[in-house]
């Protein structure tokens, strides 16, 4: 029976006013959220899209006119933008992969009951509660050879030849924010994957164990298929989110040394915040938005293909 039939039989005998109240009820509940999202996120989004084609400089009262594709043309010749794009790929790819990999292992470790699991879980998830700016500062301090132990330890391990600050080294600087990001982001993957793991019916494992499947076989034939939807959606959301995530970089390196850690998101912020050039910043944001949408579409299409194959 379809929804309309049900609604029809239920509300058929009521007066029109009553019927209107019934139909409007869910909207009363969702109205505040809708108003907020539209006013504070969607309207600014559209405005931001229009800024990409206008000359908007905060301190210049004569700015505001339409300039057409000027910003986008300038952007296509902006070498710093291309570098930032390359850095964004590297930053996002490495961060998402490492967060996912270590997050999955952690979720698997926490899935089976053991004494002290509650406290262990609270402790390993703690980094997520650390404000990101503080996580950035904290790791910047750890990498600082004057007060941090990490450079000295890396020398002992033979990873560095001298206890220098890797954040000042153009070749290595990106690893600083990536490590901080992995530290901060593992709990997110672990929490979502753990929730998905705990939703897998236990009897499936028992049946497989009776059939003589070893742990690896059980992981591949039960755990992975059950986790796959969660993994797909989490990785998709996380990739988009990390590509946009500028806090750690702004705090730890500010894009330096020599723009080696400048990602597109931090470049947008630099243009808006330091140069107050909102028009150009919005043009970069527009390009980033288009790229991320293309990426999301690609993932959704691939996922659809995989589902159809099964």
């Amino acid at each position: 029976m379809s929804y309309h039939q049900v609604a029809g039989t239920r509300t058929g005998g009521k007066r029109p006013l009553r019927r209107f109240a019934d139909a409007a009820e869910p909207w009363f509940y969702s109205a505040p959220v809708l108003v907020l999202i539209i006013a504070v996120m969607l309207v600014p989004l559209l405005l931001g899209l229009s800024y990409a084609f206008r000359d908007i400089q905060l301190l210049n009262p004569f700015s505001g006119g339409f300039v057409g594709l000027k910003h986008l043309k300038a952007l296509s010749q902006d070498a710093a933008f291309y570098r930032a794009l390359k850095n964004t790929l590297w930053w996002t790819g490495a961060s998402v992969f490492l967060q996912f990999f270590f997050g999955l292992i952690l979720a698997l470790l926490l899935d089976k009951p053991f004494a002290g699991r509650g406290i262990a879980q609270a402790l390993v998830f703690l980094p997520w509660a650390v404000p990101t700016f503080l996580a950035g500062l904290n790791w910047a301090w750890l990498f600082n050879p004057v007060i941090g132990p990490l450079p000295h330890w890396m020398v002992s391990l033979g990873l560095l030849s001298a206890p220098n600050n890797i954040l000042a080294d153009p070749q290595l600087a990106m690893w600083g924010p990536i490590i901080a990001n992995v530290w901060w982001g593992i709990p997110f993957f672990a929490i979502t994957l753990l929730a998905a793991l705990q939703a897998i019916p236990r009897d499936l494992y028992e049946a497989a164990a009776i059939d003589g499947a070893n742990p690896l076989q059980r992981f591949i034939s039960i755990t992975l298929p059950f986790l796959a939807p969660t993994i797909a959606i989490t990785i998709l959301l996380r990739t988009v989110w990390i590509a946009n995530f500028a806090d750690l970089i702004v705090v730890m390196t500010n894009g330096g040394p020599a723009d080696r850690t400048q990602i597109v998101a931090s470049y947008i912020f630099t243009q808006a915040f330091r140069r107050l050039d909102f028009g150009y910043a919005s043009a970069i944001a527009l390009v980033l938005l288009v790229l991320l949408l293309a990426y999301s579409m690609l993932i959704v299409v691939i996922r659809q293909r995989l589902i159809e194959k099964d």
């Binding site: 139909a23 959220v33 539209i38 053991f114 609270a122 390993v124």
Partner: protein, 276 residues
């Protein structure tokens, strides 16, 4: 038998490695914050200084705008957490219990907000809030943060409501209660863990936000913690002890909140997953 024992040891060992990795940076923060200045460089890589002191904490509390930052952040984070929880409970309830035209439009709208770069909103939001006098104001920050956090919180609350049987409020409604009364008096109390999870999640998010706070706030009077600490860092860039003491204090509320709610977070996401 021995195989199982080795497995157990490996499992506990791996957990310990994770705990050490998670806690070490925080431990180091604490360590430097209690190291007296004269030992800071000579005992730079020691695990605990031979002498410890709370001088840095005294200095930060007495001689900086730190208490103001703390108060501002507390106001912003609690107001945001409260507003988001109220709004997202209502919307989450609607998504969980009603079948109505437009439901998927609402879900799509909320998903879209999760997809685009929030940095993109920096410029337009500044331009919109500035004529309303909401830049450089805590109210402006609360409005912006509430909107940013509401979509995820709504999905979270919806998954908690999905885990509660519908018969409960239907029985109350047959007895003559209005739906809203049933929602308030029967369903909400059962969702307390979910409400706690949402409150804690949003509180930490609002406590930590940096980019919009930097953009919308100038001057110490209404600076939140992230902004204040960053200016503090650039101003006192040599005094690591004081910076880290300020950092430790910034950490405390967020961590306390998180320790209280993290259990419910996993529980809530599981409830949602079971329902599909």
């Amino acid at each position: 038998m021995t195989g199982k024992l080795i497995g157990t040891i490996a499992h506990r060992g791996a957990i310990l490695v994770y705990i050490a990795f998670a806690l070490f940076p925080l431990f180091w923060l604490l360590k430097v914050s209690v190291t007296p200045n004269d030992l800071l460089y000579s005992e730079g890589v020691r695990l605990w200084p031979s002498r410890s002191t709370f001088d840095h904490y005294h200095f930060v509390i007495e001689n900086s705008a730190f208490p103001t930052f703390f108060k501002n952040s507390l106001i912003v984070a609690s107001s945001t957490a409260f507003a988001v929880t109220v709004f997202s409970s209502l919307a989450g309830y609607a998504l969980s219990r009603f079948r109505f035209r437009g439901k998927y439009v609402i879900i799509a709208l909320m998903l879209i907000t999760q997809m685009f770069p929030l940095v993109m909103l920096v410029a337009p939001i500044f331009k919109m809030l500035s004529p309303l006098g909401l830049t450089n104001s805590l109210t402006g920050l609360v409005i912006v943060y509430t909107a940013f956090n509401v979509p995820f919180a709504t999905f979270l609350m919806q998954s908690f409501f999905d885990g509660i049987p519908k018969d409960l409020e239907e029985a109350a409604m047959i007895d003559g209660a209005s739906r809203f009364t049933a929602f308030r008096q029967i369903i909400l109390p059962l969702t307390l863990p979910g409400i706690a999870a949402t409150l804690g999640f949003v509180f930490t998010a609002a406590w930590s936000e940096l980019l919009f706070a930097l953009m919308l706030i100038s001057g110490n009077a209404s600076a939140t913690f992230p902004v204040g600490l960053l200016t503090f860092v650039s101003k006192f860039s040599v005094d690591f002890g004081q910076m880290m003491a300020a950092g430790v204090m910034a950490l405390i509320p967020a961590c306390l909140f998180f320790l209280l709610i993290q259990r419910y977070l996993v529980q809530g996401l599981t409830a949602g997953a079971v329902k599909g």
